[in-house]
Structure formats: structure tokens, C-alpha cells
Amino acid sequence: MQYQSQAVAKPYFIAAIGLFVGQILFGLIMGLQYVVGDFLFPEIPFNVARMVHTNLLIVWLLFGFMGAAYYMIPEEAETELHSPKLAIAMFWIFLVAGALTIVGYLTVPYATLAELTGNDLLETMGREFLEQPLITKVGIVVVALAFLFNISMTVLKGRKTSIALVLLLGLWGLAVFFLFSFYNPSNPVLDKYFWWWVVHLWVEGVWELILGALLAFVLIKVTGVDREVIEKWLYVIITLTLITGIIGTGHHYFWIGTPEYWQWWGSIFSALEPIPFFAMTVFAFNMVNRRRREHPNKAATLWALGTGVMAFLGAGVWGFLHTLAPVNYYTHGSQITAAHGHMAFYGAYVMVVLCIISYAMPVLRGRAANSNKAQVMEMWSFWLMTIAMVFITLFLTAAGILQVWLQRFSDTPMSFMATQDQISLFYWMREWTGVVFLIGLVVYIASFFVKGETRAAA
């Protein structure tokens, strides 16, 4: 570790992995509820399990992003972090607030939780992914501002690299667009329109800047390729991301009451959204092929390459699959959407966070890379989780195609529930593949406890 204050990243990474486990366990509960409808009812109704599953995902990725920033920024800026104490304080505040929110979801009926937490003062709850009570949302803003203050001050006093600037831009964008979660007009169409300014402009906008910066940082470290080359690529990729992704928001404006011209704007621009992901894959492989050193951390390199490929497949290919308006007319809000969501989040964001953890954690533990034995185990977990996610996506896609065929495309359409019964085989297969994913995650965690010969950190 080059700077002592980078050490604050460690608890962030540990918390991220812990919450990841929770996310997967609740995913398995939901997956089972798809086929055994009354499983854990009424203790954990599906909507509660889903809220925990998706909110834990968002929170652990945020822990990952913040840990990544605290690790990367001192090295990029070539100076100690502005305030390590503030970073640790924010860690505990965020962790406790997050834990209390999840406990609230699980122990109190949602309507009661809304009443207890002041939803009547400003109604923000009960919208997908933005289910957090008002006080949690305010807490997220406070933590985000303190975090941004901390890393911005660090960059201001130090070296201003392109990677640091792109990361800052992404993180500031994340905080700014989250403010739209406080805007909940009573007109449902307006509500939906601006809800996407959080959700889409996060995951198909500013989060991709964060993704690009993390990937570029790890690639510089493990390949030793010249910074000028890597940062040029980074700019090209994020340019492609934003010129396709911003207007690409229009693919959510086909059927929610918004004007018809969005079908053209949304279809054309979101059809181009795979391009930046393809560029990212080419970039990652290109840099690794042109490497000027053999970094001992093979696992981190594998995660970096995997991020490119899986983000391209999940966000790019599976996104394109249903993004053209005439196709989306039939697939909108079906299991096709779920298939895309799973692989895109895993490929783009889960994998890049695991990539930076894979690179940084050994250094934070005082070595350049883990022992060969530990790395082999980590790479096993990479393949188990990644292949499991590929099959989860394929099974959900099959379920989605059948669902669309039976319920939407047919001359004699079946009802929603009758259709669900027809496709339950695919839900069972998805659930078993989910168990394989969990095994992969257990192997991943176990890899942190494998000893063996290691080299000291440079």
C-alpha cells in the first residue's frame, strides 16, 4: 500500500461482500417463491424479499464504489486522503443506516414503516428500487456528500489524473441524479418519467463512468501499459456511453404515456448502447495482450477481462434483444426484462467491484497478490458464479420467450397466472442454478482464508 489512508477501503470491501451474501440469499427465497408460491408467507412476502434483494444490491455496490474510490484516489492523486477519520465515520453511519432499513423492511409492514419514518412529510416511498424510507434517503445523501467532499478535496490537493476525474464525475453524477428520488409528482406519468432519471441515468449513464474508471485503474496496474493509452481509451468508451445512453433513456418512454416519437429516439440510440460495452471488451483484451509486466495477481486480470465480456453480453446483447420498440411492445415487463437485468448488473457492476477488490484486497493485506492456491480458488469462484449467471439468464430468457408467446402474442392469450404455471420448469432450473451461484460465492469468500506462499507488496 503506497498511502496509509488507503486502508479505509478495507472495511468498505468487507461490508460489500457481506451484503452481497444477503442479496443472494434473498434472491434464492424469491426464486423459490416463483414456484412454491406460499414459501415463507406471510413472514416474508415476495415484495419484501424483492425489496431486500434489490436494495442490498444497490447498497453493496455503493460500498464497493466508495471502497474503490478510497483505495484509488490517494494513489491517483499521489497524496494521503483528506480525512480518513471522516471516511471511517461514514462507513459506520452507512452500514448502521442500511442495516436498520433492512430490519425495518423485514419486521414492520411496509405501510407502517412509511408512517413511522415520515413518508407523509414527503412521499418518496413505494417506487421500485427507491423503496427506502425518507430518513434513509436523506442519510444516503449525507453520506454521499461527506464522501464526495473527502475524495474531491484529496484530488484538489493532489495530482489530477483522467481516471480520478472520470471517477469523480461518475460519483458526483450518482449523487446528483439520486436527488430525483425526492421528486414524486402525483401525476403517475410524470412520476415514471423522472423516476428513470435516477434509475436509467445511473446504470446506463454515470455508473458506467465509475465502471470505466475502476477498470482502467486495474488495467494500468496489472498490465503496466502506458497511462496515456489507457486514459485515451477510457475517454473514448465513456463518450460512446453517454452519447448513446442519455437519449437511450427513451427506450423506457415507449409505453408509459409519453409521446410516440420516443419509440424512434429510444430504439435508435439504445440500439447503439452495446458499442461502448464492445469497446470495453476490446480495450480490456487489448491492454492485457500488450502488457509490459507479468503481474502476480492473475485473478484480478481474470475479473477485468470477465467484466468486459459479461457487461457486453448482459448489458449490450441482452439489452439490444428487447430494446427496439416493435419487439419491446411484446417483451416489456416480462421475464426477458428480468433476464437482462440479472446479467447486466452482474457483468457490469458486480464483476467490476469484485475486480477492484481482487486487485486491492491483497495489497491492503500487505502483499502484491494472494498465494497461488488462493488465486486458483478465487478463479474457481469466478467461473462458478459467471457460468451460473449465464444459465440463470438463459433460463429466464426461455421463460420470457414462452411467456410472451402464450400471454401476449397468441390469438387466444392465456392469463398471467396460467402462463406462469406453464413456464415453471424454467423457474425451477433458474433456482437450482441460483444455488450454484451461491456455492460460487461461498468458494469466493473461502478464497480469502486460504494461506500459502505470498510475495510482499511492492
Binding site: 412476502p45 415484495n47 424483492r50 442519455i246 409505453w255 420516443w262 416489456h332 426484462t337 392469450p413 392469463s415
Partner: protein, 141 residues
């Protein structure tokens, strides 16, 4: 990527391109806002509908159902349920939950008053009258 295309050129293209597309997006948004009154059924946005929307939110209906295709995919689309089932069926259905049928997906009992049931129905009626470019493809949602 030839040698003449430098990092600072890439950076400038990034900032220029991003600003341009943000402005274009804002322009399209302004135009949408001007067009929406003709499409989003706002002339019928009564207090009862607004109360129904709040009920929809504080009971996290979106955690199982879709509404105009957005939400969870565990339970039926409700943007057009008013057309599919009608007001009386909707009220009776909500009141009779959970069914308790073994192995079947269960919907919680929300203990709505008669007034609240009317508000929920008013909200679902409102949603069914938004101009959605003919989505969903058929009444099953």
C-alpha cells in the same frame, strides 16, 4: 486509434458530446412535458386518484405487480386491470386475500376500508385511461 488522436482530443470529444446530448435530452423532455397534457389523463387526476396512488405506494404494490410494464414480474400487470376485471371484482379480490391455496402465490391482506378500496379502484381506472400507444398488446397484460 492512430497516433494523431491524442488523449486531450478524446477528452474534448467526451465533454462536447456529453453536453450536446444532455441539451438534446432536455429539449426532448421540454417537448414531452408540453405534449403530456394531451396524453396522460391529467384532467381526471382527482383527489381520490391521488389518494389511491399513495395507497399503491405505501403498500409496495410494485414489489409484486407491474404498472404499465414497470415493477416486479411476480404478479399480473395492473395498468389495465380495470378494463380486464372491472371495479367490483378488484375490490372483492383485494378483500379476499390471501387465498391460502397451498403452493400458490399469495397476496397479503391490506385491511383497506371501503373508502380506500374506492381510492385504489379510482387510481387503477386512471392508469387504464393513459394513452400508452396501445400497450399492452391484449387485455391479459
Amino acid at each position: 486509434m492512430s497516433g494523431t488522436f491524442t488523449k486531450s482530443m478524446a477528452r474534448n470529444v467526451f465533454y462536447g458530446g456529453t453536453v450536446f446530448f444532455i441539451l438534446l435530452f432536455l429539449a426532448l423532455t421540454f417537448d414531452s412535458m408540453a405534449t403530456l397534457p394531451k396524453r396522460d389523463n391529467r384532467q381526471n387526476l382527482t383527489e381520490e386518484v391521488v389518494a389511491g396512488k399513495k395507497l399503491w405506494e405505501v403498500n409496495n404494490c410494485i414489489g409484486c405487480h407491474t404498472l404499465l410494464g414497470e415493477g416486479a414480474y411476480f404478479a399480473p400487470e395492473l395498468g389495465n386491470v380495470y378494463v380486464r376485471r372491472g371495479p367490483e371484482f378488484i375490490k372483492a379480490w383485494i378483500k379476499s386475500q390471501p387465498t391460502g391455496a397451498p403452493g400458490r402465490r399469495q397476496m397479503p391482506q391490506f385491511n383497506f376500508s371501503d373508502e380506500e378500496l374506492d381510492q385504489m379502484v379510482a387510481f387503477l381506472k386512471y392508469m387504464s385511461e393513459i394513452n400508452t400507444n396501445d400497450w399492452p398488446p391484449n387485455v391479459e397484460g
